[in-house]
């Protein structure tokens, strides 16, 4: 007697679950692997998104936050080049080029971060 290897319903379930699995894998690889993307934000709103891996030449741009800051982008990474803020912590932070790194100019309300999961989940200090 011949028995069916799969019922139609089994196949649907298997397919649905496979698609979910592949989608999850894709999401994970998108969030972890591949290129470095810098996100510039002003008070929680995205101002600029930069694909750092495609940067060939150094350039600067200005973000008009609560203060006007200058950000420099180069093949090496991204950094606060100058800010009229009093403590200059943003400029002192230096170059960002690793996933998860964040530099903030508090008085300007401007932040720069490299998207994706970094080496650390949080920073104290």
């Amino acid at each position: 007697m011949k028995t069916k290897l799969f019922k139609k319903a089994d196949l649907f379930i298997a397919l649905a679950v496979l698609i979910t699995g592949i989608a999850a894998l894709l999401l994970i690889s998108l969030s972890q692997g591949g290129g470095r993307t810098a996100v510039v934000e002003y008070r929680g709103e995205t101002v600029k998104v930069i694909d750092l891996d495609s940067v060939k030449e150094e350039y600067t741009f200005t973000v008009k936050g609560d203060l006007e800051v200058v950000i420099e982008v180069s093949p090496q990474g991204i950094r606060f080049l100058s800010s009229p803020c009093p403590d200059k912590r943003c400029v002192e932070f230096g170059l960002l080029n690793k996933k998860g790194q964040v530099a903030v100019c508090m008085p300007a309300g401007v932040s720069v971060r490299i998207a994706g999961e970094g080496e650390y989940d949080g920073v104290t200090g």
């Binding site: 969030s31 903030v104 508090m106 650390y120 989940d121 949080g122 104290t124 200090g125």
Partner: protein, 323 residues
């Protein structure tokens, strides 16, 4: 064949469920600091609710807003709310530390200009009048609540960021997230796991803000750091920073450059880091023990010291474990 299909199905399911992708929020601002949030097993709504909770806390505890602390500073009596709870803890810590932790330092902070972003050395007379109204004894507990005497003014900046982390973590828990990390300035809250793993918290190097001096692997706790390398200025060839000794009115100089405290209570992690910075390493140890907290101290010469409870969770090039 059916078995093979089942195995395939369960493998795919395990993969899909166990590897929940993290949801990262934008950098936002509250408590005079930047707020970053990442959650596992939850999304944007959860982060928004957590930020709202932090903003509500800020309203009550910031002297710049209109809540409990502002009311107290304007001479009113307060008998509830987030600020009230932090003040009760603060007065207890003020007693425990013999005055080293003191929330009545606002007049001193103002005299130095640390609140305005334009810090300067205060005139001797200005410092003396600020010192005259500094002291936890000016916080009066009455039958109808707390009030301030003698013109005292309070500032909960040394507790607020840690307390804010706890507000966020409580929201993550309530919303059923499986893990979460919140940072508010230099304070961090970690809850649950990221797909089964604990969290890696970098302790910023006091000598290079882009570098970590140590890494802590932790979960379900709060971490705060007080460092003299933050909010500092140079004048007359000397360096001045924002961690003021309430007894002298001057920045603390005891050889420490930063203190990181790990504690199960958010506000206390923040408060203890300030208290321990002011007290120095040796006197901090019994205090940390009393509050079931642990710490990592960095000296100005770069030497790192870790309490024995924290040592198993620390990665650091070179450090000494404290007895």
């Amino acid at each position: 064949m059916k078995k093979a299909a089942l195995i395939l199905v369960s493998l795919a399911l395990t993969l899909a469920v166990s590897c929940a992708a993290p949801y990262r929020g934008a950098v936002e601002y509250a408590m005079g600091a930047e707020v970053t949030q990442t959650v596992w097993g939850a999304g944007e709504d959860c982060l928004k609710a957590a930020f709202d909770a932090i903003a509500a806390l800020e309203e009550d505890v910031s002297y710049r807003k209109d809540g409990g602390v502002a009311l107290l500073n304007s001479g009113k009596t307060v008998n509830g709310g987030d600020a009230y709870g932090i003040i009760v803890k603060s007065v207890e810590l003020w007693r425990e530390t013999g005055g080293a932790y003191d929330i009545t330092v606002l007049p001193l902070v103002r005299a130095w200009g640390f609140d305005s972003g334009e810090p300067h050395i205060p005139a001797a007379s200005e410092l003396a009048s600020a010192l005259a109204i500094t002291g936890g004894e000016n916080i009066i507990f009455g039958a109808d609540g707390i009030r301030l005497a003698n013109g005292a003014q309070i500032d909960l900046s040394a507790a607020g960021k840690g307390a804010a982390c706890q507000k966020a973590v409580e929201t993550y828990k309530a919303r059923g997230a499986s893990g979460g990390v919140v940072t508010v300035g230099g304070s961090v809250g970690v809850f649950g796991t990221k797909n089964g793993s604990p969290f890696r918290i970098a302790v910023r190097s006091p000598f290079d803000p882009a570098d970590a001096i140590a890494v802590l692997t932790l979960t379900d706790t709060y971490v705060s750091t007080s460092g003299s390398y933050e909010k500092r200025f140079f004048a007359d060839g000397a360096e001045y920073h924002h961690l003021l000794d309430p007894s002298t009115g001057y920045p603390v100089h005891n050889g420490l450059i930063s203190v990181t405290v790990v504690c199960g209570d958010g506000a206390l992690s923040d408060m203890l880091s300030s208290a321990c910075f002011c007290m120095g390493m040796e006197k901090s140890l019994p205090l940390l023990e009393k509050y079931s907290a642990s710490a990592l101290f960095v000296r100005e010469d770069g030497a790192v010291f870790v309490t024995k409870e924290l040592a198993p969770y620390v990665e650091c090039e070179s450090y000494e474990v404290l007895p």
